[in-house]
Amino acid sequence: MTLPTTRDIAPGDITTIEELQDYLYRGMQLEHATIPVYLTALYSLHPETNADAWHILRVIAIEEMLHLTLAANVMNAVGGQPDLTKKGFVPTYPARLPDGETDFLVPLQPFSEDAVHTFLQIERPRKAPEPGKRIVARSRAHDPEVLQADQHLDHRPVIGPLLTVPGRPEEQFYSIGEFYEEIIHGVTYLEQEYRKQGKTLFTGDPSRQVTPEYYYSGGGEIVAVTDLESCVKALQLIAEQGEGLGGGIYDGEGELAHYYRFQQLKIGRFYLPPDEPDRPTGPPVTIDWAAVYPVKKNPRMRDYPQGSQLRAAAEEFNKEYAAFLGMLTRAYTGQPQLLLEAVWQMFHVRDGIVRLVRNPLPGRDGVNAGPTFEVDGATP
């Protein structure tokens, strides 16, 4: 990715600031949507076991939190309003990724080979058929497995207006990287057009930027976004941490990209520099697939009997999680110091999940409870 500087770039799919803000909202939705999935798998691991899987999931979950914060910084920089409390911000699982990838579903499930398969789909590297084209035909969505899963859904996955490429309902982004590439193109184009009018796209209040002072050791270096350069840097960091830089397995900071971190779990071996994709040469990854709590896949509140302690715990978790998203929204809209409190509040999130995943569901032999993340309507 290089910034075109000498001649005009053509408009892409993003041609107005409103469209850009829609994309960025969807980006925040997307980054957040992975967190319940990764945390459910992480805390389904038996304590003191599966250290390799634990650390791989831990690192990626933390980096998703950075991505969420970076997306919020970009949103603020272009005068948008990050809002994690909007109805539908948290998807109903199993969900399709909010960037419009519709050929697979993302369930809440315990750590398993299936889960790793899903993680690899989430983090898959870009695969656009030709340069400059970041979307593929939606026909991929006719994957029989997905269609079958759709039939068994107890709800239809929400496909809102943001879940398709604007104006191209038959097409979709193939990867998160391509989604961000489109946004980078969009901000570059828009800033070019604004400058022609002697204006700038970056009119947001700088005091809303989350800076390293409030956000550090949380998945990499936070980038305060104030202009096109810092904006592109922030967006590239998100894309690279997910899928690697320039087709390699590492990002620009020399860290293994998410796709390849997860692939280590599938292949059973760690990557070592300067390994090539798909051929890790490091020490073996040790996994005990059995040392996992048998958490119900896609648990819903209605799985918990009325009046049961489990139901109360699940409700309390959803309320706390809703409150947590409210606090993050305040942190992203002018009170970045609240992120310091997020550190200990995340212990609450952990404890809430752990309380559920370690307890069996009554009458469901051998299946444990899990967090439902049904936060809409859950008020603290």
């Binding site: 390799d52 650390h55 050791s217 949380g218 860290e255 490091g282 310091l340 550190v343």
Partner: protein, 611 residues
């Protein structure tokens, strides 16, 4: 067993991979010198897997004492705080008083279990004799150490705000600040500060105003400027990826002592990992047993060490490591023990003599309002106002540590509070819950650490009748708490009573609650004290050979290519936790060694060490 290290030539051989050894190894390897570090204990804490096993060990331990995550190897036994209770253990307690402290013999040393308090010593602590007519003066002044304090704060990664720390004449250079912002004050600190700030206590007619003050902590916090916190380390570069984003900030876990679950607290393994690994060899499970001295030149010509493979067995092989320069960085007690076992002490020698600690009292009470006890780092603030002043001519100074951990250390709360409510008060069900909810959050604890002056009668000696499983001597500890320190204890206990009274905190201090703590008696008052792990004074530094063991560079007067480093070099310790000061001294020593080594040609094979 073949030992590559035995056949290799090193510029520097260091005994001990704690904070001193690690700092010196880091700086000398970066200056281009080849360094061998011999560590008596296991090296397991230096890998993520190993560290995780120590964490599991801690979680599984019934008693969560400072040693609970760090079980010693048979070959490298260590004191345990429970020894005093059992009357057994590694130390041979020769009395008349018990020495209550412990340390960790493992790669990383006692920084594995420390709390992380990084106080600078007060300027007056260096000049006790000239200013107050008691104790000793250092051969260095605060101003001499000040630049090294600043460097040590960056090496360790200390979180504090200069604005809080300039008291009792402590000065910082213009524009200086700690590498990270202070750890946020706990709710407890804030509630107590509301009451205590500006409060006065009167000691022997002298009125002193108090203030709750954040203390500098070796725990990662919000970085300043370009500083980047150092999180967890893994010596195995193949698995380096696993420690990404781990421990780069304190998350408020409650077990700083004995183990930070995420390595947000400094341990010496972090410094050792920053050494030039191409110039460094670290041998764990290598117990230094003897320093060999050339009888003609008086120079050290080798260090004998015992290598063992199995931490559960004393089976070992004996080897000798050779370098141009040698450093004993094995701990104040172990340094003295090694020198004595090598026949280098005795008679008028001061080796082993002058052992000090901070014998500490507890004071605990029930606050009228909740302070949110049992949450966060074990402590985050203290009261520093009684660490210095004219009273030091009469009795010892002392420091208040303000606990966030309720009565954990004093009565075994909150567990013991539950037991008490059930068995003594007959509570159960909702009444029990209500009682606990109403009382546990109000638990307040002060720890009152009292200064101690060096006395030659307080000593580490060895005795051929008392050997460990490897045949190495166990430290024989002679220890007496003198009237000067007991005067400080009396003043500290009185100050705590005055604070409790003025703050409306019901004083629950019950000497019998810690009945197994050792005690001393003065004018009918009994003081139960515990050790702070602040060993010092056993190879004291000074201006002249006859009056000290090492010079201001911690270089042995008798053996000029030997450095004996650590808090054993301290002539006084004031009321500061010793780690920061010894780190500053170690950096000063490393600088000196670099110059001295560079000024001489490397020795050739077969020649006597020509440092």
């Amino acid at each position: 067993m073949t030992e590559a290290a035995e056949h290799e030539e090193y510029d520097v051989v260091i005994a001990g991979a704690g904070v001193n050894g690690a700092l010196i190894a880091k700086h000398l390897t970066h200056a281009g010198f080849r360094v061998l570090v011999l560590e008596a204990g296991p090296g397991s804490a230096w890998s993520l897997d190993g560290y995780s096993r120590h964490l599991d060990h801690f979680y599984a331990a019934a008693s969560k004492g400072p040693e609970s995550p760090w079980p010693p190897a048979v070959a490298a036994p260590q004191p345990d705080t429970a020894d005093i209770r059992s009357g057994a253990g590694y130390f041979v307690q020769n009395g008349p008083d018990k020495y209550g402290s412990s340390y960790t013999r493992a790669q990383g040393g006692s920084t594995l279990h420390w709390l992380g308090v990084c106080l600078r010593m007060l300027p007056e602590d260096f000049e006790l004799r000239s200013r107050f007519g008691v104790g000793h003066d250092w051969p260095l002044r605060y101003a001499d150490l000040e630049p090294y304090y600043g460097r040590a704060e960056h090496e360790i990664g200390v979180a504090a705000d200069v604005a809080d720390q300039a008291h009792h004449g402590i000065e910082f250079p213009d524009g200086y600040d700690y590498p990270m912002r202070r750890i946020p004050l706990s709710f407890s600190d804030q509630v107590l500060a509301d009451t205590i700030d500006g409060m006065r206590v009167t000691l022997e007619g002298e009125s002193i105003a108090l203030q709750v003050r954040s203390y500098p902590a070796g725990r990662n916090s919000v970085p300043r400027g370009a500083y980047r916190p150092v999180g967890a380390v893994d010596a195995d570069v193949d698995r380096h990826d696993m420690i990404t984003h781990l421990g780069e900030r304190c998350a408020g876990n409650t077990s700083c002592t004995p183990i930070c679950p995420i390595e947000a607290k400094y341990n010496a393994g972090k410094t050792l990992a920053q050494a030039d690994r191409g110039k460094l060899r670290v041998l764990a499970q290598a117990v230094v047993s003897k320093v060999s001295v050339d009888p003609v030149s008086g120079m050290v010509d080798g260090i004998e060490y015992q290598r063992y493979a199995d931490p559960a067995s004393p089976r070992h092989t004996v080897h000798t490591a050779r370098g141009r320069v040698y450093v004993l960085a094995a701990h104040a007690v172990e340094n003295a023990k090694i020198l004595l076992a090598s026949g280098l002490g005795g008679g008028d020698s001061l080796i082993g003599k002058g052992l000090i600690d901070h014998p500490a009292l507890y004071a605990w009470g029930l606050s009228p309002v909740p302070v949110g006890a049992y949450r966060g780092p074990l402590s985050t603030a203290g009261i520093e106002d009684l660490r210095g002043g004219a009273f030091r001519a009469r009795h010892a100074a002392f420091r208040f540590d303000i606990g966030n951990d309720g009565w954990r250390a004093t009565t075994g709360g909150p567990d013991s509070s539950v037991v008490d409510a059930v068995t003594n008060q007959g509570l159960y069900g909702t009444k029990l819950r209500a009682h606990l909810a109403a009382t546990l959050p109000r638990h307040v604890r002060f720890s009152l650490a009292v200064e101690q002056l060096r006395s030659e009668a307080n000593a580490v000696t060895i005795d051929p009748r008392h050997l460990d499983a490897m045949g190495n001597p166990r430290p024989v500890i002679s220890y007496r708490i003198d009237d000067y320190t007991m005067g400080g204890m009396a003043a500290a206990a009185e100050a705590a009573r005055q604070v409790f009274r003025q703050a409306g905190i019901a004083d629950c201090t019950d000497p019998e609650a810690g009945g197994w703590f050792p005690s001393v008696r003065r004018d009918g008052e009994v003081f139960h004290y515990h050790g702070m792990g602040h060993f010092g004074g056993t190879h004291v530094m000074g201006h002249r050979a006859g009056e000290s063991v090492v010079d201001t560079h911690q270089r042995s007067w008798e053996h000029r290519n030997l450095y004996v480093v650590g808090s054993g070099s301290f002539p006084t310790m004031g009321t500061s936790n010793p780690t920061l000061t010894m780190a500053a001294l170690a950096l000063r020593t490393a600088e000196h060694m670099t110059e001295a080594l560079a000024a001489r040609q490397p020795i050739r094979q077969g020649e006597p060490s020509g440092f």
